[in-house]
């Protein structure tokens, strides 16, 4: 396989930007969470890519990937639980309508 490393890096940068865009621009809390997941995945992809190209003998990158995936899973579980709780309260999951902390 002779794909240059930077192809992968650009791919993950793109994905990161797409995720960021989703997290910033969409109003729906669930979509925002999805955007965050996309950013997470882009980051993990970087871990694996560097592992493959630079540190193939080491197991560290895979460990980090596993832990990052677990954290992402925990994060999304909590996030979605929050979304459900918020929905019960506001009858909406639109982030712009949740302004209780407005100063």
């Amino acid at each position: 396989m002779n794909i240059p490393l930077d192809h992968y890096l650009m791919l993950s940068a793109f994905l990161f930007a797409i995720g960021l865009c989703g997290a910033l621009a969409r109003k729906n809390a669930i979509i925002v969470l999805m955007g965050i997941e996309i950013m997470f995945n882009a980051g993990i992809l970087n871990l694996i890519v560097f592992w493959h190209y630079r540190y193939f003998a080491s197991v560290t990158a895979q460990m980090f990937a596993i832990f990052a995936i677990s954290i992402a899973a925990a994060e999304s579980a909590i996030g979605l639980a929050l979304v459900i709780a918020v929905y019960r309260h506001y009858k909406s999951v639109t982030l712009d309508e949740m302004t209780s902390l407005k100063g």
């Binding site: 960021l20 997290a23 910033l24 109003k27 925002v32 982030l95 712009d96 949740m98 302004t99 209780s100 902390l101 407005k102 100063g103």
Partner: protein, 682 residues
């Protein structure tokens, strides 16, 4: 016993805490109805631990060498990247004696608890916690590693929290549990800092290692390394560790939790005051003693001694003016702990540790005895409503008397020898501290006599009406019937105190042997011995005499009678309210926090909001001014819109705090983008 066999024994030390631990684990799963099984399991586990601990004790006794036989067993717990964390077990005289004491006293406390808690609904939960408590204390005692010690230390704290607040539905108990946990936690900060610093300086947390690089083995070297506050590293660490011990062993500024811990069931008090919680601090200082003594002439040792001395006197004075039977004992524990710490600070490991051992026996005896009294009088804790119990509870009376004499330091009971040793050491170090401590010994004898007469002499006053004094904190759990005739307690409650009283009589004669056993030379120097012994005998006699004069000649007739000492007026109230220490904390620490909170709220309201409001107000004022000055018909519209603009500005500023998550996120990513730009163009 030869070295190899001892070594093997050290490796097997972990069995000692294992049994109570497993018992606790099993009990946590038992249904609530299984009372007999739960208590039996607990007692059997503790008995096995006790047998094992006694075997270890015998093994170390049998060495017969003059130097200390110290065996340890270290192993790697886990790897953490490239570093590794070790664990270690130790077997030396200090550990062996302590473990034997903890398991033995604990065993009898457990037996007593079966009687004391017989009516409680949460019997199994109680024994589960009790077992865990004993297990963590035993783990603390046998650890050769500061990390393990710290873990067990925190477990001890947790268990005391759970047990003090065992009747958590009582607000006082709930408050007391929090107080105990938080106060000791303040000390733990110091302890933890000490551990960190020790690790930083020595690179290991094992106290002793085979290659001689253990933390304590490097104490001598640490004495030549600079630490903080002008101390050597060794002394600094010792100081920090001592702060932890102050929290755990209830030394002066951090003592406040101990009397409140009386809210727990009485066996718990016995366990906390005698064998486990408070002993942990003194034991830890003893264990870390090489660090304390590494740098000769540092002020840390003086600090330790004076803290101990002050605590001893201070709590003894408070104990004089209390009416709650357990509270008197609680302050006496504080005071005795002060003695121990003072002995350690005066430079004698043997004196402090020996007093810890003897005190454990007779204080457990006294607490269990007070538990018997409380049960015998149907959950009455106010001494003014007791009296004449000698007639109703003879066994309890005789055992209590032995405990009281031992605590007062009457020869030939155990307390006399150990306290005398401490006083002697203090005398050599500082005459002033010795004088104060002797005064504390006088007070000890006095308040114990007072307690004896109030509780056991005279006539039964329990039939009197409550007088709403505010001191009576009844245990209103179970059957709270008051006023019946007192009765003797069942055998499972008096047997433990009878057994313990044997030790309270006999243990003192081993003081010399204990010194040899710990491998400390000396203690035979005659200098000052006669003075000290004479003085302490005198003050004890005086204490008993005064006690009899004031309380014994004419016993209280009614529960509502004034305490004879109340004639002292304000001083008595001062002592009764515990020197107003709690009130002092209330007035300073709590008030400070509250003031801070108010301040920050005001800051938020006045400054943050104020700036915005001020902008708007200034604009409004300006516009008003112009309205008054100028012609409303011509320039009204223009200025209106101007004001509107400024007001909008204020509003815009306020929208920075929009409460919208995404806006914050947008700003965050904008910042990230700017950082990237900077990175990219530089």
């Amino acid at each position: 016993m030869d070295h190899a066999a001892l070594q093997h024994l050290a490796q097997q030390q972990w069995w000692i805490p294992l049994f109570p631990l497993v018992a606790a684990a099993i009990q946590s799963l038992l249904p609530r109805g299984q009372r007999k099984l739960s208590a039996g399991l607990c007692i059997v586990a503790m008995g096995v631990s006790c047998v094992l601990a006694l075997r270890a004790l015998l093994a170390t006794l049998g060495t017969g060498h003059h130097e200390v036989e110290r065996v340890f067993f270290n192993f790697t717990w886990f790897h953490f990247g490239t570093t590794q964390l070790d664990m270690g077990l130790i077997l030396d005289p200090l550990t062996a004696a302590m473990a034997a004491m903890v398991s033995f006293v604990g065993f009898w406390i457990f037996v007593n608890a079966t009687g004391y808690m017989a009516d409680d609904d949460n019997f199994t939960r109680f024994f589960c916690f009790l077992s865990l408590f004993a297990a963590s204390m035993l783990g603390l005692v046998i650890s050769n590693n500061l990390l393990l010690l710290f873990m067990c230390w925190e477990l001890v704290g947790l268990c005391s929290y759970l047990l003090i607040g065992f009747w958590y539905f009582k607000p006082a108990a709930a408050a007391a549990m929090k107080k105990a946990f938080i106060t000791t936690r303040i000390g733990d900060v110091g302890f933890f800092l000490g551990i960190l610093m020790l690790y930083y300086k020595t690179g290991t947390l094992n106290m002793y290692t085979a290659d001689g690089n253990g933390a304590l083995q490097q104490a001598g070297a640490l004495a030549h390394v600079a630490g903080w506050w002008g101390l050597s590293a060794a002394s600094t660490i010792a100081f920090l560790l001592f702060i932890g011990a102050m929290g755990k062993s209830a030394q002066f500024p951090l003592h406040v939790w101990l009397p409140d811990a009386m809210e727990g069931p009485t066996p718990v008090s016995a366990l906390i005051h005698a064998a486990t919680m408070v002993a942990a601090g003194v034991f830890m200082v003893g264990r870390m003693y090489p660090l304390f003594t590494a740098e000769p002439g540092s002020w840390v040792m003086d600090f330790v001694m004076w803290i101990g001395c002050f605590t001893a006197v201070f709590s003894a004075t408070i104990a004089v003016a209390q009416f709650d039977i357990k509270r008197v004992l609680a302050y006496s524990t504080c005071s005795q702990l002060g003695f121990m710490v003072m002995g350690l600070g005066a430079g004698s490991l043997v004196a402090g540790q020996f007093h810890l051992l003897t005190h454990a026996f007779f204080k457990a005896l006294l607490f269990l005895g007070s538990g018997c009294v409380i049960i015998g009088t149907h959950h009455e804790q106010d001494m003014r409503k007791m009296g004449g119990l000698k007639k109703y509870m003879p066994i309890t009376f005789w055992c209590y008397l032995i405990g009281m004499l031992a605590l007062s330091g009457v020869p030939p009971f155990a307390g006399f020898f150990s306290k005398d040793e401490i006083l002697l050491e203090t005398f050599r170090r500082s005459k002033a501290a010795w004088g104060l401590a002797t005064f504390a010994a006088f007070l000890t004898a006095f308040y114990m006599t007072r307690q004896m007469f109030m509780v056991f002499a005279g006539k039964w006053r329990g039939g009197d009406q409550d007088h709403g004094d505010g001191h009576d904190k009844h245990d209103d759990h179970g059957h709270g019937h008051h006023g019946g005739e007192p009765h003797e307690v069942p055998w499972n409650m008096w047997l433990p105190i009878a057994v313990l009283s044997v030790f309270a009589i006999g243990l003192g004669f081993f003081s010399h042997n204990y010194g040899l056993y710990l491998g400390v030379e000396g203690g035979e120097a005659a200098e000052g011995k006669a003075i000290v012994m004479g003085a302490s005998l005198t003050v004890v006699a005086l204490g008993l005499l005064f006690g009899w004069l004031i309380y014994g000649r004419k016993t209280m007739e009614h529960a509502t009678d004034e305490d004879p000492l109340a004639a002292m007026g304000a001083l008595f109230t001062f002592l009764n309210r515990k020197w107003y220490i709690d009130e002092f904390y209330e007035a300073t620490v709590f008030r400070f926090t509250a003031v801070c909170a108010v301040f920050f709220r005001l800051f938020d309201k006045l400054v943050v909001d104020g700036i915005l409001h001020a902008i708007a107000w200034v604009a409004w004022a300006i516009s008003q001014m112009f309205r008054w000055l100028g012609d409303e018909f011509f320039i009204n519209g223009g200025f209106d819109s101007g004001c509107e603009t400024v007001r909008l500005g204020g509003k815009t500023l306020a929208t920075l705090q929009s409460g919208r998550v995404q806006n914050y996120f947008r700003v965050l990513s904008l910042g990230a983008a700017i950082l990237l730009l900077i990175y990219f163009f530089t």
